[in-house]
Amino acid sequence: MALMNLITTINHTLDRAMDQDDRVVVFGEDVGVEGGVFRATVGLQEKYGDKRCFDTPLAESAIVGTAVGMALNGLRPVAEIQFSGFVYPAFNQIISHVARMRNRTRGQRYLPMVIRMPHGGGIKALEHHSESLDTFLGHIPGLKVVTPSTPYDAKGLLLAAIQDDDPVIFLEPSKIYRAFRQEVPEEDYTIPLGKAKVVKSGSDLTVVSWGAYVHEVLKAAQILQDEGIDAEVIDLRTISPIDRETILESVKKTGRFAVVHEAAKSFGPGAELIALVNEGAFLYLEAPPTRMAGFDITIPLPREEHHYFLDASRIAAGLRRVAQF
């Protein structure tokens, strides 16, 4: 067991995966010599050589597309996109090929590949460095979309992603890369993809969130707890496919539902969660299912980005309305 933050855990986990399986190769912009702009891949090229961990030219479509080719020819590529805002050039590959190769070939060819990227805002960065892709990626059949909220989960989910025979997009909340440390076991373990986790059980309302926002939601839940409102908090962990069972079970118990996310509200991931709660637990609902989300704007530059984020107090205010409806 070692105390690790999120980024060192990613690094450790990639190391473990490469050590276990020669087919795992890691690449992207600045991933090799420099070890990644966030240091996620530091030391890997030294340890495994530049055939297994290497820098690429600046071309995201090519990064994802060559990963497809490698996966077709027996490797298990783990590609890094430097920031989620730079994955758009690769959307054609992701939508048209990554997500479809298995279905297109009626199961004959498949793509055991992972695309990792820092995700979301909160790091006071330039434009395009703070994007939330939950909806774009969640809406693509054939992908699994995963995001951890803690170092412990990150290791288990990332190992599971690399071992998965389907393509996985692994969204790393960059805001909490170095926010806190946690005990992470040295030995390997996986956390099944597609399973949400109840991170705080409660009886008065169900709140679903994921990634960096889980921590704000937990703070908000604490505020409410002090007021006598007992929220159940679920960390979605896999954005797609969604673990409906865990959510519906909770909503059937609490009768109230809220989802909290960073992405813009309209056509956002919260809409999907509200729809599935309607489909699966409508008659249990004692209050309107509610979403707290980013405004329908481009996430602002650092001077104003604090307005965009929901902090514990704003989340608490929203949850209170749901609880007291």
Binding site: K51, S61, P241
Partner: protein, 368 residues
């Protein structure tokens, strides 16, 4: 036209506006005997037959489409040499990465005609190939396939394997960002890959001249610092020879090559297209004289290996075979409904299983 670096065989070719690599002329006469690949004579007959099969299968598909039995179909007529030549120059374990107009190459590399017809018949099983056939499915989004080719080739070198990847694209495809990114990656990683541009002079209605100001498409290799060459795409010998050289170069670790196969689409873009809207018949007539089958036939007859009578019979025989294959396709019946749902993921997730089951119930009339 400028060629950045030339593969050995063709040191004399590629001057600006100058000749391209041609071994056999339009009449089937060998103009560069010293460049004729050392293949057994029967091999040339075999390759010729592969081109005739391609032509017959193509014509049959068009005919069936006109009868309303086949869906949209993209014909290959005129481009057979640019397809069969490279396919024949590959080794058994080499990979072929198609664009979408390479019938001759697919058949030669082992995709059954039935599978090809299934594809154009609108069935996903048209992308399911026999075990061991190292060919990717058609890539409809132009340009995207080249990244796959480079990735496959990089994987071969990472694994220390000697397989080479041959990838196709059209003249229109050379304008995509993906084309350039892929060539650049191939150069940087010295990937064992050969890019073949079938320059058939049109991207649907857009003529080659409006696609780029570059004098040749081969010169696009210069941007990636890799060799490029223009080859007479209607000359089977030249296509074979150039690809062979490029493939072996790649296998020896000498990196990627771009081959522009200078050819012509004699037919329509697809069966939905009417080429008279954008090109002159006279142009088409000119190109018919350069038909790759015609000149190879002349060569074989000249060599005493073939005759006009044998030839007519062959085309008929292949046509009949193609029809028979298509009948099998028609006889296949509907694919299973389960197929719609079960290949999106390795295991069907809960929400998809529910959609599937609900739909089956609907089909069974259990829901109304």
């Amino acid at each position: 036209m400028l060629i950045h670096e030339r593969i050995e065989l063709i040191r004399d070719y590629g001057a600006p506006g100058g000749p391209m690599l041609q071994i056999m002329d339009e009449h089937g006469a060998v103009r560069r005997p010293e460049l004729v690949p050392s293949l057994a004579e029967e091999k040339w007959l075999e390759l010729y037959k592969a081109m005739v099969l391609t032509r017959a299968a193509d014509d049959k598909a068009l005919q069936l489409q006109r009868q309303g039995r086949m869906l949209t179909y993209a014909p290959n007529t005129g481009q057979e040499a640019a397809q069969v030549g490279p396919a024949a120059a590959m080794e058994k374990n080499d990979w072929l990465v198609p664009a979408f107009r390479e019938l001759g190459a697919w058949l030669y590399r082992g995709i059954p005609l039935k599978t090809v017809y299934l594809y154009w018949y609108g069935n996903e099983y048209g992308s399911h190939f026999p075990e061991g056939v190292r060919v990717l499915p058609i890539a409809v989004p132009i340009g995207t396939q080249l990244h796959h080719a480079v990735g496959i080739a990089m994987a071969s070198s990472i694994k220390g394997e000697k397989d080479v990847t041959v990838a196709y694209i059209g003249d229109g495809g050379t304008s995509t960002g993906d084309f350039n990114e892929a060539l650049n990656f191939a150069g940087v990683f010295n990937a064992p890959v050969v890019f073949i541009v079938q320059n058939n002079q049109y991207a649907i209605s857009v003529p080659r001249k409006k696609q780029t100001k570059a004098e040749s498409l081969a010169q696009k290799a210069v941007a990636a610092g890799i060799p490029g060459i223009v080859v007479d795409g209607n000359d089977l010998m030249a296509m074979y020879a150039a690809t062979k050289e490029a493939v072996e170069r790649a296998r020896r670790g000498e990196g990627p090559t771009l081959i522009e196969a200078y050819t012509y689409r004699l037919g329509a873009h697809t069966t939905s297209d009417d080429p008279t809207k954008y090109r002159e018949d006279s142009e088409v007539e000119q190109w018919k004289l350069r038909d790759p089958l015609r000149r190879m036939k002349a060569y074989l007859i000249d060599q005493g290996l073939w005759s006009d009578e044998q030839d007519a019979g062959l085309y008929e025989q292949y046509g009949a075979y193609a029809l028979e294959v298509f009948r099998q396709v028609e006889a296949e019946g509907e694919p299973k409904v389960a197929d719609l749902f079960q290949y999106t993921y390795k295991e069907m997730p809960a929400h998809l299983r529910e959609q599937y089951e609900e739909y089956v119930r609907y089909l069974e009339g259990k829901v109304e």
